[in-house]
Amino acid sequence: MSRPRLIKESSEASAPLERELLVRLHDLMVKTRVLEERLIQMYKQGHGYFWIGGPGEEAFNVSLGLLMKKGQGPDFDYLHAHYRQSGTLLALGEEPISSLRQMKNTATDPYSGGRNFAGHYSARRLNVAPVSSPIEVQYAIAPGTAMVQKRHGGEGITIVTGGDAGTAEGDFASCLVWSSRPANPLPLLIIVTNNKWGISTSAEGQHGEQRISDRGKAFGIRSKTINGNDAVEAYTELREAMAYVRTERKPFLLEANVSRLYGHSSASGANYVGNEVDCLKDFEAKLEKDGVLTREQMDALRNGYTEEMAAAARLVRDEPQPDPESIWKHIYAEDK
């Protein structure tokens, strides 16, 4: 899958997106939403112990995956993700069935061999660092890959993402400090997807800064808060922020306001939340209004993915669970 070409390869945030790209964005957003809904359904049917994911973040996460310089090693972009980023992984070309396998913790789960929760991706061949359940650790690790990239030269950057609640942890401060030292600023795109919740605690109970992006200002880090629910805005703002980090080799703090459409995780029921903006619904209304896609085309796309993932889920259901003896594998690099 090649990165979609833009009409103007400029850093202007206002540059319009061409039709092909809008269709691609939409396609991946639908695919991601259907995947997440399938994962939730698997959980509810007893085909998995726990669900956590990112329905509501598709506009932003898909854009991120499409814009990443995809590959392995310091010439390409590293992603230190959190557990709501199936959209980014699908945009990078991952197959949805892999996520279903992790949900069902089968031996075939390519990300963890049946060891880790849904959405806990790992793909070294794509520079996707392991996603882990602690909400902050990625912010402490990301400066390391960025440091190697700075020294290595080239265009590769490091991207780290986390939620608003995670910014209360010290590792977020570590990330701001380590990326902005005047002696060695780092090519690091620091992202906070702000869904205004920390599990069940609202933003009012979490932090008092007006915008999380304001925290970057004290460090001289270029910072911005955007509407991550708007696919076009998310794509264009991410494109601009990434261009800055890529060429200036300096950090950027991007806060994206997003929704959490099925709550924190299966622990809170994983039921649809009706009172938050649905980025997919909004994007589809826009595409329909602008004559990019018809309702029928979009419905057909969704139905196609729904059938595809239902079939994949049936397949995964019959796949073997990990061999108990496999617990001893990979404790160390040499334990194959």
């Binding site: 602690p134 190697v148 690099a333």
Partner: protein, 352 residues
């Protein structure tokens, strides 16, 4: 002969020249200080980090992910405790990704008592660290072993915790590190940074240093004996050897094993010795409750019960919240030569 700090420095020099070490870093690790214990003076890949231990461990993990080979330092192990979940994460990265990622990284940290370091510069870390799976954990008691274990650490594919007994960092070795000059003063002139202005100073590394490697998981018998076995590592090891030497005059024959490598560890060496002597004393200075020595006692009981002539014993640090500054307090808190001598004598004479 080199002291342990110099041995570590020479091993790191060898590793950055020949083993692909890319970053030697931590608080005050780079110029001008070169480490509070001088272990990183004059090295070419050193740099100073912010005073942020979580940032240090995190950066090491990231550097390792991107193909670098970091050697990070936590200035005192007392300050590593706020990184425990990152250590856990580094230890589970290979396992939780089913072998997708692995982290070739070394963390060095000075441990233990012996410099009157009070509550936050005297702690041990072996008991806690041996709870964290996925790491290899080593602790030398001589400069030569420090050199050889660090060479192995810098060739590892996995995270290695290199514990430096701070009481022994300034103690000169009795065995020559391959390549070090004959004369201590000559070595000091070559590689010790001068006091005062160091901006123009450059070390002259001994030319003949080599990849002398001590394999992980291999202990060493430092004194042979027939009546009981003493297993130790780090600061207490030379004390055990000294106690055994003293007691030989009283007709007590103690075999002393330097474990060197805590995980993996040399069970075969311990087993063979205990089967020969029937008595074993484990000695370390970490707090005694859920101490690594307790694991060794448990394994001894379970696997060597019928070879034993007396219960296996553990002599460790008192289970206290800290080590007090006063000489009297420190001496009373962790095993000293007298405590070890008494424990050996008592075990040697123990009858049902």
């Amino acid at each position: 002969m080199a002291n342990m700090a110099q041995a570590i420095r020479m091993a790191l020099h060898y590793a950055e020249e020949h083993l692909g070490v890319t970053d030697i870093f931590g608080e005050d690790v780079g110029a001008p200080l070169g480490g509070v214990f001088t272990c990183t003076q004059g090295l070419k890949t050193t740099w100073n980090s912010p005073l942020d231990e979580r940032g240090i461990i995190g950066a090491a993990m990231g550097i390792a992910m991107a193909g670098g080979r970091p050697v990070a330092e936590i200035q005192f192990c007392d300050y590593v405790y706020n990184t425990i979940d990152l250590l856990k994460l580094a230890g589970n990265t290979s396992w939780s990704t089913f072998g997708d990622w692995h982290l070739p990284m070394v963390v060095r940290t000075p441990v233990g008592s012996g410099i009157r370091g009070s509550i936050y510069h005297s702690h041990s870390f072996d008991a806690t660290m041996t709870h964290i799976a996925g790491w290899k954990v080593v602790m030398p008691s001589t400069p030569l072993d420090a050199y050889g274990l660090l060479i192995t650490a810098c060739q590892e594919k996995n995270p290695v915790m290199f514990l430096e007994p701070k009481a022994l960092l300034r103690v000169k070795g009795e065995e020559r590190i391959p390549g070090e000059p004959d004369d201590d003063r000559a070595l000091s002139k070559l590689i010790d940074a001068p006091l005062g202005d160091r901006s123009q100073w450059k070390p002259q590394w001994p030319a003949g240093l080599e990849a002398y490697a001590v394999p992980f998981g291999k202990g060493k018998v430092v004194r042979e004996g027939t009546q009981l076995t003493v297993v130790s590592y780090g600061r207490t090891l030379p004390l055990c050897a000294k106690a055994a030497e003293t007691l030989a005059a009283d007709g007590i024959s103690a075999e002393v094993i330097d474990l060197r490598s805590l995980w993996p560890y040399d069970w075969e060496l311990i087993k063979a010795s205990v089967q020969k002597t029937g008595r074993v004393l484990f000695v370390n200075e970490d707090t005694e409750v859920t101490n690594f020595g307790e694991h060794l006692v448990r394994r001894t009981v379970e696997e060597l019960f019928y070879s034993l002539l007396a219960p296996p014993r553990l002599l460790a640090g008192k289970f206290l919240p800290g080590i007090g500054l006063s000489d009297a307090l420190e001496m009373a808190s962790v095993p000293q030569l007298g405590d070890i001598t008494t424990a050996i004598r008592s075990l040697a004479g123990e009858q049902p």
